[in-house]
């Protein structure tokens, strides 16, 4: 397939996914905005007003990056796992598999769709956050790098879930029983410095902690862990998931007979 043909194929996948995101906006864009508005109202305004500032920032300012990151994670994962599994279930995935598109391009198409949705949702959530608090930006590059890398990571995770899922139950188990607990325990609402041992040390085993802290570093300039360790761990997990996805496509596992 020529480079021009690959660009057209990739654009076609992107166009289709973006149209889908806006066509079903009440399922793709609205729910995370409502959920995070509630978080801002309840944890930020009602409860947060009773909490002492953390490292010079109000509680609302402290939790804002984590809440945005939570929407990045859930949107990227949910978008790719549901889009891929629905295509597999309806067999419309065969439209892609019989085409000359190389596997890496199909993967890139799904992953970029997940990144686009999480970007759109996070922009909306930031707009909502502006109604509740003043937003500071310490380093825009770190915000973008952490956001995009995390969205890629969870888009790949959602894609793998879609590949291996045998039914619709299969794409809800991991978000409900793995992703949600890890996200809530990933330092969105608190600094791990406040945790007693062994919970503090145990928290360091949660990869989401590093993504939330890298993102917070971008906004507030503070973090519980080293920025480079955060990017290193996120990058490493992303690379592992990418290799697993490429392997699944090349072997046809969960895709071809």
């Amino acid at each position: 397939m020529s480079t021009n043909a690959m660009i057209v194929a990739f654009y076609t996948m992107m166009r289709k996914e973006v149209v889908r995101i806006f066509r079903i906006w009440s399922q793709t864009l609205l729910p995370p905005v409502i959920t995070t508005s509630l978080y801002f109202a309840i944890f930020g305004a009602f409860i947060g007003s009773q909490i002492q500032p953390i490292e010079g920032f109000s509680y609302m300012q402290f939790i804002m990056p984590g809440l945005v990151m939570m929407t990045v994670i859930t949107s990227a994962y949910a978008h790719v796992s549901s889009a891929f599994f629905s295509a597999k279930f309806m067999k419309s995935l065969e439209e892609l598999l019989v085409s000359p598109m190389p596997h890496w391009l199909i993967i890139a198409g799904f992953v970029c769709a997940g990144v686009i949705r999480s970007f759109l949702v996070s922009v909306l959530v930031i707009i909502v956050a502006l109604m509740f608090t003043h937003i500071t930006i310490a380093n825009m590059f770190i915000i973008l790098a952490a956001g995009v890398l995390t969205a890629i990571l969870f888009s790949l995770a959602g894609l793998l879930n879609g590949i291996f899922a045998k039914g619709f139950d299969g794409i809800t188990i991991i978000p409900n029983f793995v992703l949600t607990p890890l996200t809530y325990l990933g330092g969105i609402f608190y600094s791990i410095e406040l945790l007693p041992e062994p919970f503090r040390t145990l928290s360091l085993g949660n990869p989401i902690l590093y993504m939330v802290n890298a993102f917070r570093h971008g906004f507030l300039g503070i973090s519980d862990v080293s920025l480079w360790v955060s990017f290193g761990i996120t990058g490493l997990v992303t690379l592992i998931l990418l290799l697993l996805t490429l392997w699944s496509f090349s072997k046809g596992t969960g895709l071809r007979s």
Binding site: A9, M13, P100, R256, S257
Partner: protein, 253 residues
């Protein structure tokens, strides 16, 4: 010398099932077949004979166990991507998104083959008009009748102007009038140079349309010759009788 449109050499496929009911099923047991370019070729066989597996291997949806497959002289082991550009496929089961409209399904498929959107829209118009579903172009695919869904899949398969069209039971569940319309369309397509490989359970359809026939039974090719010669060799027998004779475990009626 022109390469055959499709060339299969000692093609084998074994499905392995793990867990409960684990075991192996040999769907293709060393099939060898050569289909010249421009042929209208019928691939016949009972359910489970290996026809759909063969089509799946040609389109990259099924991974072969062993053997060689060439499409227009291109080995799928060496350049599957190029081999796929020569093929259009109409599968047995509907395999498009139920939530997309008819035109988008066809135009998007063109995009996956690298055809720019403007060009794809023009091609889609021609095909949808020829197949009589242009009026339905803005309808969701789920709203189409069974016959229209079949025609939509034909339009989608032809959008990149493939040299070879694989049809896996394209007229299943289609009424007589519509079926005749599809036969006419396929004949004209073949006369224009497209190689057509047809699998069907309607043997009169195969007899009427195809110049060459192969019969596959339990993963083995048991007949492979021009339709006229097969019929002539069996005297005044109908294709249905010949088919049953070749594929039945118990040849006695």
């Amino acid at each position: 010398m022109q390469s055959p449109a499709i060339e299969l050499t000692n093609l084998r496929k074994t499905y392995r099932k793990s867990g409960k009911g684990a075991g192996e099923t040999e769907a293709l047991k060393g099939a060898t077949l050569s289909i010249p370019q421009g042929e209208f070729f019928a691939l016949l066989g009972p359910n489970g004979a290996g026809k759909t597996t063969m089509i799946g291997i040609l389109t990259g949806l099924v991974v072969k166990t062993s053997g060689e497959v060439k499409v227009n002289g291109v080995s799928i082991d060496e350049d599957l991507s190029l081999a796929k550009t020569y093929i259009g496929v109409v599968p047995q089961e509907f395999n498009f998104s139920l939530f997309e409209n008819v035109q988008d399904i066809v135009v998007d498929q063109a995009g996956y083959y690298g055809i720019p959107r403007d060009e794809a829209i023009k091609r889609a118009e021609v095909l949808l008009k020829e197949l009589g579903i242009w009026d339905k172009r803005k309808d969701k695919s789920m709203a189409l009748s069974g016959g229209m869904k079949r025609r939509l899949m034909i339009a989608r398969a032809l959008i990149h102007k493939p040299a070879i069209l694989l049809l896996d039971e394209p007229t299943a569940g289609v009424d007589v009038e519509l079926r005749r319309g599809m036969w006419k369309f396929l004949r004209e397509l073949n006369e224009a140079g497209t190689t057509i490989v047809l699998t069907t359970h309607y043997l009169e359809e195969a007899e009427l349309l195809s110049r060459h026939v192969a019969i596959i039974s339990k993963g083995n090719i048991v007949a492979n010759e021009p339709m006229k010669e097969l019929l002539a060799r069996h005297g005044d027998k109908k294709l249905e009788d010949i088919f049953l004779e070749m594929t039945s475990d118990d040849p006695t009626p």
